[in-house]
């Protein structure tokens, strides 16, 4: 079967193509075409058409298209959707306005909360009450539902999110609201929080429900277009969509639960890194994705990406398990400036328009990319085979004012800006690693994104990372991530307040297990061949703590272990992360989660190793790294390098739209799979 992975970025829409099962990783093809705006689906359709033409795909050949899109995310950030309404339990009309109270800048006199997706005017209280144990304190007053539906409609709402108190333990009242809506206002789109994600926390659950409602129509329309195209030109094509958890789901599932796609963009990159990490047998991978405006990192341990419980989109919390990504600072377009005589980088970015000064698109402010160019870390011949010209003179002009003010050379100013940006990243990255209990020396840094392979090695050098990997296709890495994703579904059951027993745990686990398997079965034909792998995680804490730790539970013969066993694993995890555990303190399980994977076939890591053949550098160039100038640093072009190649830094490897910096003390080589690997001994 032909598989196509597609990722839409701000500038380019990327494609990765795996033609047939016998092809390996190194046979995966990739290309990029300009992103189409405002109709993003056009570039997707054009790209697929190109693949069809190039590989002479027949109209009835089976094809799998896996797509990662930020269209839902953009809709939230741009607030571009029609009005929606929220139904909540009487007494909780301000669940959105109170929003957990906390303000993001705790002492700022001008601080304010994020404007809710639904104004108070369109929040309607329903007379009903379910208690924390699931019992009904007050029956649902149907009249209050009907009048709320009428009022929502009268206020112009096209869709409604229903999030009633304690529906995470007993969803019955929410379900009755759905039934009443279907009966009285069948044209209103109504979504219940217990269907989206039944987790305790009324504010976060209401927000997630509203996010789902909010992006539903835009996602629906978008996927419809692609689906229509596919059903005409590739009758046996199946469309899948990336999820925030790094896996995929069927397009029809995505159309009803688009909230699960909100963070799928960064997740696709991490999924790609996970796969490459498996190919290369890496135990602990720290991803480093540096784009134009920011840099994101994520950790993959033992083949498992970190899952976040605190992800955000447009300042809204996203409760569903998402691949954890941490923003650690500047991107290539981040502006360099002076703050009362102190050199600063970002957080403002020149973005892609006007962009860095060296792009010659009208930008005049100095940016990190300009600094790279001045220091020789980007080729003065430009990128994309010269299609994107880089103008050193413009970069130098942009830096001149800062250099003059500080009384230093332009080159020194540029290099200092890079050093400041590196230290900015450290200020975020080291606390992040502390939080997850990992040291930088234990990680392999995997670099992708436009500027990842330029700045990543400099950061690695600074914090003591000993091994760096740059994938052979770093610029379409997220599209590759789509190509290698599995069907992946998370389910959860609340345990907070439940009296724990082995039987209760087993019962909850069984319920989740069945739900997970049913979900995989629902995803269509491809689930038939899928190998199902299920992983249970318990959210646990000491009774007096309010933080939970996710603890993976052991399975024996497919069955979940005892509560005691879960407790032991919790103590061990607490000990590992925090250096202490108290076996005699009471432990609580707040929730049980199950991740179900329907494993898909992936390109095999068929590599080859060659003899070490000396390769002549394309040219030599002057590089400035960490205060030193290297006048004759070799510059290789990646196309000329084969497995077995090995050279010592300082050096550069040029790729199509990016360059790879090899700092002094690092060795660079081409691995058996064509990836660039840098190592240092100490």
């Amino acid at each position: 079967m032909l598989r196509i992975g597609i990722d839409i970025g701000g500038t380019f829409t990327d494609f990765a193509v795996w033609k047939k099962e016998t092809d390996g990783y190194t046979d995966v093809e990739s290309f990029k075409i300009p992103t189409s705006r405002p109709d993003f689906s056009q570039a997707v359709i054009d790209g697929i058409s190109q693949v069809v033409a190039r590989h002479r795909v027949n109209v009835d050949d089976p094809v799998l298209v896996v797509h990662s899109t930020t269209i839902s995310t953009n809709a939230v950030i741009e607030r571009s959707q029609p009005p929606i309404a929220l139904f909540t339990t009487k007494g909780f009309r301000d669940v959105l306005g109170i929003a957990r109270l906390r303000l993001d800048k705790p002492i700022d006199l001008f601080n304010r909360r994020v404007t809710p997706l639904v104004p108070r005017e369109r929040v309607f209280e329903i007379t009903e009450r379910v208690l924390a144990d699931g019992s009904v304190e007050r029956e649902l007053d149907e009249a209050s539902v009907i009048s709320a539906l009428d009022a929502a409609r009268q206020k112009g709402a096209t869709a409604v999110g229903v999030s009633l108190l304690n529906s995470y333990v007993n969803p019955r009242h929410e379900q009755v609201v759905l039934e009443l809506a279907a009966k009285h206002h069948p044209d209103l789109e109504v979504v219940a929080s217990s269907d989206v994600w039944p987790q305790q926390s009324e504010y976060e659950r209401a927000v997630l429900t509203l996010l789902n409602v909010y992006v539903k129509s835009v996602m629906d329309g978008y996927l419809e277009k692609i689906d229509t195209f596919l059903s005409r030109s590739l009758k046996n094509a199946k469309l899948f969509v990336m999820k925030s958890n790094g896996g995929m789901m069927s397009a029809s599932e995505a159309r009803s639960l688009p909230a699960h796609t909100l963070l799928s963009g960064p997740a696709a990159g991490v999924t790609a890194a996970k796969t490459l990490g498996e190919y290369l047998d890496l135990d602990r991978v720290l991803t480093f994705d540096m784009g134009g405006t920011s840099t994101d990192v994520s950790l993959i341990e033992g083949g498992r990406p970190m899952i976040s419980a605190q992800a955000e989109v447009g300042e809204f919390p996203v409760l569903v398990p998402s691949t954890a990504v941490e923003a650690i600072g500047a991107g290539g377009g981040s502006v360099v400036w002076l703050d009362g005589g102190i050199l600063k980088v970002g957080p403002r970015s020149a973005g892609s328009k006007p962009g860095p000064a060296c792009y010659g698109l009208g930008g005049t402010e100095p940016t990190l990319s300009d600094a790279y160019l001045i220091c020789g870390l980007l080729p003065d011949t430009g990128l994309l085979g010269g299609k994107l010209a880089l103008d050193v003179a413009r970069a130098e002009t942009a830096f001149k004012l800062i250099a003059d003010t500080l009384g230093i050379s332009v080159e020194k100013a540029a290099e200092s800006a890079i050093a400041v940006a590196t230290s900015n990243m450290m200020a975020k990255l080291l606390p992040f690693l502390a939080r997850v209990g990992v040291g930088p020396t234990d990680c392999t840094l995997m670099l992708y994104g436009g500027a990842g392979a330029v700045h990543g090695p400099l950061l690695a050098d600074e914090i003591g990372v000993r091994r760096i990997v740059v994938p052979r296709v770093p610029s379409v890495f997220c599209a590759f991530g789509c190509l290698v994703s599995d069907l992946l579904h998370d389910t959860m059951r609340n345990m907070h307040g439940t009296v724990l027993s082995d039987a209760a745990l087993a019962e909850a686990a069984e319920q989740l297990r069945v739900a997970g398997e049913e979900w995989v079965a629902r995803q269509g034909e491809i689930s038939a061949g899928a190998v199902i792998v299920q992983t249970f995680t318990a959210e646990m804490r000491y009774a007096a703590q309010s933080f939970t730790l996710p603890v993976e539970l052991e399975l024996s013969e497919g069955k979940i272990g005892s509560v005691q066993n879960a407790f032991e694993r919790f103590h061990a995890e607490h000990e590992r992360l925090f250096g202490h555990a108290s076996a005699d303190l009471p432990v609580v399980i707040d929730a049980l989660r199950l991740r179900t994977a329907g494993k898909q076939e992936k390109p095999a890591p068929k590599g080859r190793s060659g003899p070490s053949v000396p390769v002549e550098p394309r040219i030599h160039r002057r590089l400035r790294i960490n205060g030193k100038t290297y006048f004759q640093a070799p510059v290789f072009s990646q196309g000329s390098l084969e497995p077995g190649f090995r050279a010592k830094g300082p050096a550069m490897v040029e790729q199509e739209i990016a360059t790879v910096v090899v700092p002094p003390d690092y060795w660079v080589e081409i691995g058996p799979l064509g990836d660039i690997v840098m190592t240092r001994d100490h």
Binding site: R100, L131, A544
Partner: protein, 652 residues
């Protein structure tokens, strides 16, 4: 100050401090730490100034503090591997501001040379004393609040002093958990020590020192820049805390002098310390609690500046010894946070005069914590849990409405999901909502009040709330804005009887009883009739104000979902352009000041503070009793005469 090294070192220091604070937060044992983030870990210079202070985790308002008082209290050399502990305000120069805050200091040596200090503190959930949690507004002496430990070496050259550990554990109701929190702090400080050593190794001690000096100068320079933009002159402002039931209001009197790029803050004229837990000791330095209104303003205006002690360098603050904000031993301080918030309000009141166009109206001015205790039916054991923090709307700002339900100075407060509370605590929350039509009206309106209603579902549920205020005097409005509404509390018994309870301290609810608490709301900024009619319409549609209020107060006639008529033709105007520069303090404070004008209260404070410590209480109460019966407004002279006469009578 090297422009590049400074920024790089700032980032490196930030990385260490944030990392250490994260570690402490994650490893702490008590819920209180987790929920309120009332702890911190930071790095201090040899002079005691903080040069790296976390902002992502923990308490964010202590960067201007100094650990020098605690270090100096140790009269022997502080050696590598030592850790000093203390929770004693009076022997740490006011570093500890109440004894629930346990502070630790560890010297950081690099190759035998002392390079800086690691510091940390945690609000221990219980340090013994009269009540669980150690804090009760009524306690009048520090002895009643629990164990007080003057600075002592908890660890000597790496060896733990188990005697002190025993004393700490034995004097807390939850000794093990408190000790667990202290262990978390110590591991965070060890991490700091390692990180500083790595940095000194890499960059050299000289560069480290230069970096420390650089980041402090950087902040100082930014602070001076912001202060320099304020109008020169001296500005005064007064406000009150209500104190115990039936007692006289406690005056907080602030005077701010701006002279070029320096500021002087003086609290002379504020009330003498009281026999309740509202006091704190601030010592002889510019204590950060005396400067928060100004330092928060500086950080607001200069968001890129590093958060450290440099920000407080251009500020000199002082409070007379014996006053509420510089109370002498053995004052109790458990409930001092109300005073800190009101001190902040008075400083904002001064800043409104020093900033062209003003800055903000008064916020809710309280940061209460509602907690519940009950006997667990199954185990028979006593259980305690925090229900919710409780604040109220912030004041309206010069450029926008106030924040609903939370004051800006305590923006770090985070509520607990009601769904979580209902599992943990045997109660039902019937409402947790914003209150309509009570926030101070104005061109920008104050933040709305918050209201909570809870019902007990066990035979007996004890509710304790501290840190409440504003039951009597309203948060003020400025430039023609209206004052925000008062706090209120009420119990509805299971049989329907209603009891107005005012400020809750400790209250017993029986099964089916309900507690209804309403917070204060923020004051308004600018005349209501200048508010943008679209915002008035928005507030009506959202139900924050009634159509009647829109008409009567804002002059906007709303018909359905549109504006039918707007009586006011001119809606321009910003701050200083408003004719009305008066502060709207509300009728209760007006009535009080009709007898006790601010000048008379100031004179009373000064006259009392001039007396020997031992005479202040008795003379004060006699003079007060006499003066309360006075007909018409009191003059400062009359007040001084009365105080002096009573003092003389006692001496004779």
């Amino acid at each position: 100050m090297d422009p590049i090294l400074t920024e790089i070192m700032k980032n490196r220091f930030t990385a260490m401090a944030e990392e250490a604070s994260t570690v402490a937060y994650r490893t702490a044992h008590t819920t209180f730490v987790k929920q309120t983030q009332d702890f911190q870990v930071a790095l201090a210079t040899l002079d005691g100034e903080f040069f790296a202070y976390p902002t992502m985790t923990g308490v964010t308002n202590g960067s201007g503090d100094s650990i020098s008082g605690m270090v100096k209290a140790i009269d022997e050399k502080i050696l590598p591997g030592d850790v000093i502990v203390s929770n004693d305000p009076f022997n740490t120069g006011g570093l500890a501001t109440h004894i629930m805050d346990v502070h630790l200091v560890q010297p950081i040596y690099h190759q035998g040379e002392l390079v800086c200090y690691a510091w940390s503190f945690v609000h221990a959930s219980d340090v013994g004393g009269a009540v669980p949690g150690s804090i009760s507004p009524d306690l009048s002496e520090v002895y009643q609040e629990g164990l007080r430990l003057r600075p002592a070496k908890l660890v000597r050259e790496g060896v733990l002093n188990r005697d002190i550990v025993g004393i700490i554990k034995d004097n807390s109701r939850i000794g093990e958990a408190v000790w667990g929190d202290l262990e978390a702090l110590m591991s965070a400080m060890r991490l700091l020590s390692n990180r500083v050593n790595e940095l000194c190794e890499k960059m050299g001690v000289a560069a480290f020192r230069e970096g420390v000096a650089g980041v402090l100068s950087y902040s100082e320079r930014k602070a001076r820049e912001i202060i320099g933009q304020l109008k020169d002159g001296t500005y005064t402002f007064a406000d009150y805390i209500e104190g115990a039931e039936g007692s006289e209001p406690i005056l907080l009197h602030c005077s701010l002098t701006i002279d070029g790029d320096e500021a002087e803050i003086d609290y002379s004229g504020s009330s003498p310390q009281v026999r309740s837990a509202l006091n704190f000791y601030s010592g002889e330095r510019s204590h950060p609690f005396l400067c928060l209104g100004l330092t928060n303003y500086i950080y607001t205006m200069a968001p890129t500046m590093p958060v450290n002690g440099g920000s407080i360098r251009p500020i000199r603050a002082r409070a007379p010894l014996g006053s509420v904000m510089n109370a002498e031993f053995p004052a109790s301080s458990g409930n001092r946070w109300v005073s800190v918030m009101r001190i902040y309000d008075t400083l904002i009141g001064c800043l409104n005069q020093a900033i062209e166009g003003g800055i903000a109206a008064c916020g809710a001015g309280q940061g209460g914590i509602i907690s519940a205790s009950w006997i667990d039916a199954a185990t028979g054991r006593s259980r305690v849990s925090v229900v919710e923090p409780f604040s109220g709307g912030s004041g309206a700002r010069v450029r926008g409405d106030g924040v609903d339900a939370n004051d800006t100075m305590i923006g770090y407060l985070k509520s607990t999901p009601v769904e979580y509370v209902e599992v943990e605590v045997p109660l039902v929350v019937h409402r947790y909502e914003l209150v309509s039509d009570v926030a101070g009206h104005g061109k920008y309106r104050g933040g709305a009040a918050i209201r909570i209603e809870i019902e007990a579902r066990v035979p007996e549920l004890k509710i304790a709330v501290r840190g409440l205020d504003r039951f009597r005097f309203q948060p003020w409005g400025v430039y023609g804005g209206h004052p925000g509404s008062n706090s209120a509390g009420e119990v509805i018994r299971a049989d329907g009887r209603r009891e107005v309870i005012g400020m809750v301290k400790v209250l017993t609810l029986f099964a089916g009883d309900r507690l209804l608490m309403t917070s204060s709301a923020g004051g308004g900024f600018g005349p209501a009739e200048t508010r943008d009619p679209d915002l008035v319409l928005r507030d009506v549609l959202d139900g924050f104000i009634s159509a009647e209020t829109a008409r009567e107060i804002y002059g906007v006639e709303i018909d359905g979902d549109r504006i039918a008529a707007d009586k006011n033709l001119s809606r321009g105007g910003e701050g200083s352009e408003f004719a009305d520069t008066a502060i709207a303090i509300g009728p209760a404070r007006e009535a009080f000041e009709a007898l006790w004008p601010v000048e008379a209260s100031v004179e009373y404070s000064k006259a009392i503070l001039a007396l020997p410590f031992g005479l202040r209480g008795i003379v004060g109460s006699r003079a007060r009793a006499e003066l309360e019966g006075h007909d018409g407004q009191l003059t400062p002279q009359a007040v001084r005469r009365s105080v002096e006469a009573h003092a003389a009578a006692l001496a004779a």
